[in-house]
């Protein structure tokens, strides 16, 4: 009798210990997050101003602002999305609506996208440098950087759009078929609009991923911090600017902090809007069913 009691006691102690450890770990992770964000805010807040956002960098970025860099970043993003969105959504529509998951072609596409998702960003950089910059002769340009990023974004765009399309209730497809709508009309008029919030969330996640990227852009879009005149000019993205200021420019810490703060705030906003899209969408689906 006393043995069972002591075993129970040991179990209770073990339980308590496990709970404490796990809660401590959770606290530790939260603390790390707060530490990082507060460091960036403290280091960058004083340097941040409207002028910083619109001015050109001077003295290798120690003074001045990040205006041209924001423009370059936006152009690179635009190119990447214009190339990756049609391709990604087409692939997603095919995988979700037209081919079976276990069939040969569908399996091959899915497998190669899974591999693509795992390829390290520096390898994308090497590929972009060899293929877009040199083989296709685009040089160090916003165009070649954007196209390299498009390759990187493809897996995330496909997977979010595919799961969004799969989440559209089958009743939609059956009703459309019963009304005699062609599959193309069903896809464009019914399924894609119904999955629009998921597509938007995927788009935002893709933007976030693209803005965060450095290694793939170093040898494709280059370092030049002037205002880009055309898409074939080299342009420095915000992430590369942070890298350059902190590694290659002594005394560049304050603008680097401020740039990092701008990047983080933009990414947090994008992430939050993406989450809001997915959550609002799920809620609406539950209400409508």
């Amino acid at each position: 009798m006393s043995e069972t009691v002591s075993v129970k006691l040991i179990h209770a102690h073990r339980d308590r210990f496990a709970q404490l450890t796990i809660c401590f770990v959770a606290f530790l992770v939260c603390a790390a997050f707060v530490w990082i964000v507060s460091d960036l805010v403290r280091g960058g807040w004083a340097h941040l101003s409207w002028d910083f956002l619109v001015d050109s960098p001077r003295d290798a970025g120690r003074a001045g602002g990040i205006g041209p860099i924001l423009v370059s970043t936006a152009l690179i993003l635009l190119i990447a999305l214009m190339a990756a969105l049609p391709l990604g959504w087409m692939t997603a529509a095919l995988l979700a609506e037209y081919v079976s998951a276990s069939g040969g072609f569908g399996y091959a596409v899915r497998y190669s996208l899974q591999v693509l998702a795992g390829v390290p960003s520096i390898v994308f950089g090497l590929f972009g440098n060899a293929f877009f910059s040199i083989y296709l002769g685009m040089g160090f340009s916003i165009l070649s950087g954007g196209l390299t990023l498009a390759c990187m974004l493809l897996p995330i765009l496909v997977s979010t759009a595919e799961s969004g399309l799969r989440a559209v209730p089958d009743a939609y497809r059956l009703s459309a078929a019963a009304l005699g709508m062609s599959r193309a009309t069903t896809l464009f008029r019914l399924l894609l609009p119904a999955a629009a919030p998921a597509l938007a969330a995927g788009l935002l996640l893709g933007i976030g991923r693209a803005m965060a990227e450095t290694a793939a852009l170093l040898f494709t879009s280059g370092y030049v911090d002037r205002m880009p005149g055309s898409l074939l000019d080299s342009g420095r993205s915000l992430a590369i600017h942070i890298f350059d200021l902190s590694m290659n420019v002594s005394g560049g810490d304050a603008p680097a902090h401020a740039s990092a703060l701008v990047l983080i705030v933009a990414l947090l906003l994008i992430n939050m809007v993406a989450m809001w899209f997915t959550i609002g969408w799920q809620r609406r689906r539950i209400v409508s069913e």
Partner: protein, 297 residues
């Protein structure tokens, strides 16, 4: 009756799809084909670019040359390889328990509200760019480690930064695996009077083991391929590290550092290290995908 028969045999209801459908299907197939071919294109180009080095330099020279000194055609990648493996291994050792504990916290310990907030925080942590992790490590961690044991920019700093970066991957995949554990297992365990930790340790973790391991594989791939953050905090000295406080250089960091001025065989050797990275990560994600599939069988 005749009217309805006519309607049934009308073109839109027959087995032959409308021409626009065929067109769309072929368009979609074309798009998906391009998407699928990208991986082959990347593999092809990286291989073609590294071919000069693979032809001139025998493979074992990448491991047995006296040093890494491309100017004198010495191409020993072994110190970089060991740096990569030490950093990734150390980060895994730290991030695996932390990540699984975080997943358990979300799944079984936190109230739904806290769990939601904590999960979101983990997702935000996953969204922080690697260059920002690197910058933070450079301005905060490296000076701290420098006080402990100079020079500061070291393997330890790399491990800590990598830990933060792969923790979200492990947490989110482990949480998904825990969610997939059938509810009746847990109810059965509770009905047997098992304690909470007994339930987790004896039922939930074994049942979700393959999913968690698949997540760890993915995280390993990310740790091996991570470039910027590691580059910024590890000091980048080409040599085998003797202690945690020694500076190291990883394969990916080496590419970034030398690509700008590399020519001919040197450039090809850098592509060889990129190819090595890509193959390593492909094997890891292949194993992870295979584990993920076997879980459902």
């Amino acid at each position: 009756m005749i009217w309805s028969k006519h309607s049934i045999s009308s073109p839109s209801a027959s087995a032959e799809p409308a021409p626009v459908d065929k067109l769309v299907l072929w368009l979609l197939r074309g798009g998906a084909g391009i998407a699928a071919a990208l991986v082959l294109l990347i593999l092809l180009f990286v291989t073609v670019e590294s071919w000069p080095a693979l032809r001139h330099i025998s493979v074992e020279r990448f491991l047995t040359d006296p040093s890494w000194n491309p100017g004198e055609s010495k191409y020993n990648l072994a110190p970089m390889l060991s740096g990569t493996l030490y950093a990734a291994g150390g980060a895994l050792l730290l991030a695996t328990p932390l990540g699984i504990a975080s997943a358990l916290f979300i799944a079984y310990y936190a109230s739904p509200r806290t769990a939601g907030i904590y999960r979101r925080l983990i997702e935000l942590l996953a969204g922080i760019p690697s260059v920002v992790y690197g910058f933070w490590g450079l301005t905060t961690l490296v000076p701290l480690i420098n006080q402990l044991h100079p020079p500061g920019a070291s393997l330890l700093a790399g491990i800590l930064v990598l830990t933060l970066m792969i923790l979200p991957t492990i947490t989110l995949t482990a949480h998904a695996a825990l969610l997939a554990v059938p509810g009746e297992y847990l109810r059965g365990a509770a009905a047997l009077g098992m304690s909470r930790w007994g339930m987790i340790h004896g039922v939930a973790l074994p049942a979700s083991k393959t999913g968690i391991v698949a997540g760890i594989m993915l995280a390993t791939g990310r740790a091996i391929g991570e470039t910027m953050a590691v580059l910024m905090v590890t000091g980048n000295v080409v040599r085998h590290a003797d202690s945690l406080f020694d500076p190291v250089r990883t394969l990916a960091a080496n590419i970034v550092l030398e690509m700008a001025y590399a020519m001919n065989d040197h450039r090809a050797a850098l592509f060889v290290s990129g190819l090595t990275l890509m193959l390593l990560v492909m094997v890891l994600s292949g194993v992870a995908g295979w584990l993920g599939r076997t879980r459902h069988v």
